[in-house]
């Protein structure tokens, strides 16, 4: 509970600039409710002037109705105003939350991005933000109008006839208790139902994803049996949950009917004994309808509020993640010609598993360093450290003689051109994607870069050539084609240093052969780090680091390593015989 209070406090801070507007919305809500509730009073007063044939006091009817008209206008104006203001505040806060969540995504260390599944970020960004908006902002005004309605109705009723008012007050909790009892009873069924819905979805996801294999293995029948089992269970619990929950409405409606009847009887009896006018009964009857409604709504809103607070907690948990250390104040460093040094570097992803221990290496400008080894041996770790996606635990990485932690990240990264195994294309045209690193590039430069990496041919064959719109990370393109676009991107940049992290592993050898020639052109005179699992492409490297199970086990040139007859030789020979 303490936690929830803290969350609410933070939310208030977030909404603070909007507080005056929120207060205004509350005022409008109160005014609107007041007007709405005053209508039956006026109608009742008019009805009291219409008793029987020849007993109609037109003047009284007229005066009551003349007050009614401006009251109706007021309920209209204040009602609309309240909605407008809440909406505006609500969506403003939604936008601000999304923008700052996104800024967080851009600001946290890569480690955090690697650690937290993308789906989690996504549901904070979309669903949880919506929940907070719906629950806390819309909900707050609704809750407020609900409470105001209840209080004002109570006051109005008490002023007209306190006995009948007490009857209403005594009976309405019945419907609330009934609703609560039903909700409590059905909770178990609903949680069981949503559990089953989840497992049905999960099962379908797995089976549909594996459909081809299931069909080719003749296992479709087996899959259907599994589905029927979950589906049957879902039917049982879904039915129980639905039937139980669907008793709420008729039951509360029945209780409301009881209240209504009680008011009619009590009002009637009071009128018989001359205590109450008939207009007052009419007024009471409409209150009896309205009085129970906000109670039922308030229960719903409370549930919504709970969801909202939980969503807000999840959002704040992400917002509280440590961002990367600020680097804006760091001085600009002089550009060197591309010397890199690892000085006694140690690093672990998780404290229990040593990754790199006391590793030192000096790479002279223009040198080409290859990192090889079996899949999953940690080849990418060095790249992660070099680009400062991760920080070393001890030791230092120096670029052109400067510790990279003393450099602005942007400055460090701008010195490298990087091509990764997993391709990343943004939603936009092919040309925009190639010019990702240099937006002001001319069309000629873009085409030249594409030509240099042999991407021009297939791009021209696409529907709109360079203006073809790419969606969903390049849907419809082959893995190789996507990679070529990414390579063209670096080609256009002509950075002083290069990082190729398994850049050609998803391209067929023929295309790779061509791309390799492009890389040769690009790497000339530049310091380059090449991670590869095909050894054919890196034999001309100045230095080959051989990694195995997270450790660098050998290093040297191709010929030195072959002569040494170690792990590299085994790897190499298994490839060519």
């Amino acid at each position: 509970m303490n936690n929830a209070a803290g969350t609410l406090k933070r939310l208030l801070m977030l909404v603070k600039p909007q507080l005056p507007k929120m207060l205004l919305a509350f005022l409008c809500a109160a005014a609107g409710v007041g007007a709405t509730l005053y209508c039956p009073v006026l109608a009742g007063r008019a009805i009291d002037a219409i008793i029987a044939p020849s007993q109609v006091n037109y003047a009284d009817v007229k005066s009551a109705l003349l007050i009614l008209l401006p009251v109706i206008a007021a309920l209209l104006v204040f009602g609309v105003l309240m909605s407008l203001i809440t909406n505006k505040v609500c969506y403003r806060v939604v936008r601000e939350m999304r923008v700052s969540l996104f800024a967080k995504i851009c600001g946290v260390p890569i480690k955090t991005i690697d650690d937290i599944p993308a789906g989690e970020w996504m549901s904070r960004m979309v669903t949880d933000v919506d929940n907070v908006a719906d629950g806390l902002l819309q909900g707050a005004t609704q809750l407020f109008s609900g409470i105001v309605t209840i209080l004002m109705t109570l006051v109005f009723m008490l002023t007209i006839d306190w006995v009948i008012a007490l009857v209403v007050v005594a009976l309405t909790p019945l419907s609330l208790i009934l609703a609560a009892v039903i909700a409590r009873g059905s909770r178990k069924m609903f949680s069981k139902q949503s559990l089953l819905q989840g497992s049905l979805g999960g099962y379908a996801e797995e089976m549909f994803g594996a459909q081809r294999v299931l069909v080719s293995c003749g296992a479709a029948k087996m899959a259907q049996d599994g589905m029927d089992k979950i589906n049957g269970e879902l039917k049982t619990w879904g039915f129980r949950a639905q039937i139980y929950a669907s008793f709420t409405n008729p039951s509360t409606r029945f209780v409301n009917g009881l209240v209504y009847a009680a008011v009619a009887i009590a009002g009637g009896l009071s009128a018989v004994s001359g205590g109450m006018t008939i207009g007052a009964i009419s007024c009471f009857l409409s209150y009896a309808n309205q009085y129970t409604k906000p109670f039922n709504e308030v229960t719903g809103i409370m549930a919504q509020l709970q969801t909202a607070v939980m969503s807000a907690e999840r959002i704040f948990a992400l917002m509280d993640l440590q961002s990367e250390s600020p680097d804006k104040a760091l001085p600009a460093q002089e550009k060197g010609n591309g010397e890199v040094e690892f000085r006694h570097v140690s690093f672990r992803y998780v404290p229990e598993r040593p990754m790199i221990e006391d590793f030192s290496l000096t790479v002279r400008a223009g040198m080409r360093v290859a990192i090889v080894g079996p899949t999953g041996c940690g080849k990418t770790t060095l790249i992660n450290l070099l680009m400062r996606f991760y920080d070393v635990d001890s030791g230092a990485v120096l670029v052109d003689g400067v510790d990279i932690r003393d450099m602005k990240r942007e400055e460090l990264r701008s010195r490298f051109g990087m091509v990764l195994q997993e391709t990343f294309l943004t939603t936009g045209t092919v040309a925009e994607n190639i010019a990702f690193g240099r937006e002001n590039a001319s069309m000629e430069e873009i085409v030249a870069a594409a030509k240099a990496v042999h991407a021009d041919g297939f791009i021209r064959q696409m529907d709109d050539g360079y203006d073809t719109l790419l969606l969903n990370n390049g849907e419809g393109l082959s893995q190789g084609q996507k990679q070529l676009i990414c390579i063209a991107r670096v080609m256009l940049l002509q950075p002083p240093m290069l990082i190729l992290d398994e850049a050609t592993s998803s391209i067929d050898t023929l295309t790779e052969h061509r791309v390799q020639r492009a890389f040769e052109k690009l790497m000339k005179g530049r310091t380059a780090f090449v991670v590869a699992h095909r050894l054919s492409t890196i034999q001309s490297s100045d230095l080959i680091l051989v990694m195995r199970a997270g450790k660098i086990v050998e290093s040297g040139t191709h010929h030195e390593l072959l002569k040494a007859g170690g792990f590299y030789k085994t790897l190499y020979e298994s490839q060519f015989d």
Binding site: A46, I47, I50, A52, V56, V61, L65, I72, L76, G79, N87, Y91, R98, F102, A103, I105, M125, V126, Q197, L200, A204, F208, Q211, R212, L214, S216, C217, A220, A223, D228, K235, F239, Q242, F254, G257, A261, A262, I265, G268, L269, A271, V272, I278, I281, T375, M387, F389, R409, F424, T427, N473, D508, T509, H513, S536, S540, S574, Q575, F576, D577
Partner: protein
Amino acid sequence: MKSLLPFLKPYRKELFIGPLFKWVEAFFELLVPLVVARLIDVGVKNGDASYVWRQGGIMVLLGLVGLCSSLCCQYMASKASQGFGTDLRGAIFRKVMSFSGAELDYFTAPSLVTRLTGDSYQVQQGVAMLIRMAVRAPFLVVGAVVMAMTIDMQLSLVFICVTPVLALIIWFVLFKNVPRYREVNKKLDRVSTITRENLLGARVVRAFSKEEEQERKLEAAAKEHERLSVGIGKLNALLSPLTSAVMNLGIAAIIWFGAGNVDTGSLTQGELIAFVNYMGQILLALIALVNLVLIFIKAAASGRRICEVLDTTPEVDSGRGESAEAADGIPAIEMRGVSMRYGRSGDNALDDISISVPRGETLGVIGGTGSGKSTLAGLIPRMYDVSGGEVLVNGLDVRAWDAEKLRQRIGLVPQSPTILSGTILSNVTLKKPDASEEDIKAAIEISQSADFVYSGENGIMREITAGGRNLSGGQRQRLTIARAIAAKPEILILDDSASALDMRTDKALRRALRERTRGMTVVIISQRVSAVEGADRILVLSGGKCAGYGTHGELMKNCAEYREIVKSQEAGENE
């Protein structure tokens, strides 16, 4: 939408009786204002307290009857809608399992999952609402007007004017906004697309120092979403206050004109109050009707998406029930002038391919990405149907084969391995649940999986999570190979299925296949020359066309394309 009707058929009884009960409830609800009118006009006017009690009692009784019939209706609605939803989900699942690759590619698995779960739930809700509300709400509106007419024809003119105005306001706001909601959702999609891209491509974004630009992009998208949402909110803000205002104006009109009628004696005071009450009922019923319409709009859209699935006839049927045994002199696999094209437009993925693979021989297929290698693999177990020419297995056209029997004899190992949650054993025996222990052991050994299968704590009973995420890429590939071999197929197709294996394992795998699967016809598809050069024949594919067909030696002599591939892979050695 017609395809959904058969699913309602078993629940005809509920669909008829349910609304009937609801109708009874609504009818009694409409009587209440009349009872109140009598209570006032007779009971209060005559000072008859016992009459007041009696009328009150009648109201409670009416409520009780209403409650009972309403509960009956809810029971019917739950029974019918849950049954309907369950049947529908079962049918969708069955349909998807009958799909061939073409339909799967068209729909995509995630969208099919959404249709099975989210969409079917919407339709199910729609059915429940149909039973519960479709009769009640319109009946209350019409009933209230009719009741008013029976009391005082002249005064009911107010109802006849006000009801359409209320309905018009509601419809206007609703229909103006429904398409705009779609726009808002599109904008929200844009926000999530940008977010997803930046999560998946975080390294690239940072390598290019694009954080600030991406933040600006998102802010623009979020602002756009805000603008449209506020726009919708403006119209929505009108709805409730405006209808409430119109209703109160109606009440004012009733009182004004009613005053004259009471004066002349054609209306009593109690009846006037009944009029006011009916006005309130109409508004409530109309609002319920709006919610109903919204649910139906959603359900209809979902229903259409489901029908799209149910109405799809799989391109590949289950065959004509024939089968053929392997026999000497008849090739195990034969393709005669085979062409294949995905969808209606575009280039042929395969063009005029003819091959013949005798029983027990090995065919190698090599070519670059997009050369049609996987298409060729899928045609043999009839995952797709050819657009031209024919594919024969044991001399029989695959379209004549009983599809299930055909696939039972062919082990296809696809490029990306698919592992199901369960155990290693359940994955290996997926194709043949009754495989013998020896066969399983042999399959695990041949596929080079023994080292990780038997080294683990639970060995072959080791738990596998969905998608095989607790296995490495290479381990997953080896398990899928083991799965195909364990079923002892006549034909084994390896579609680039060693791509995640390191060179040593790949080599050991090929040796084991050669030595331990005698009599099995093998198709090896790869980008690596080393994988196919030992095959009896090699097919070189380029852009879906046959660029060469023969042994390694023959191809080296007379196929330029093949020589170029070989050269590209030897490049390292010569430098």
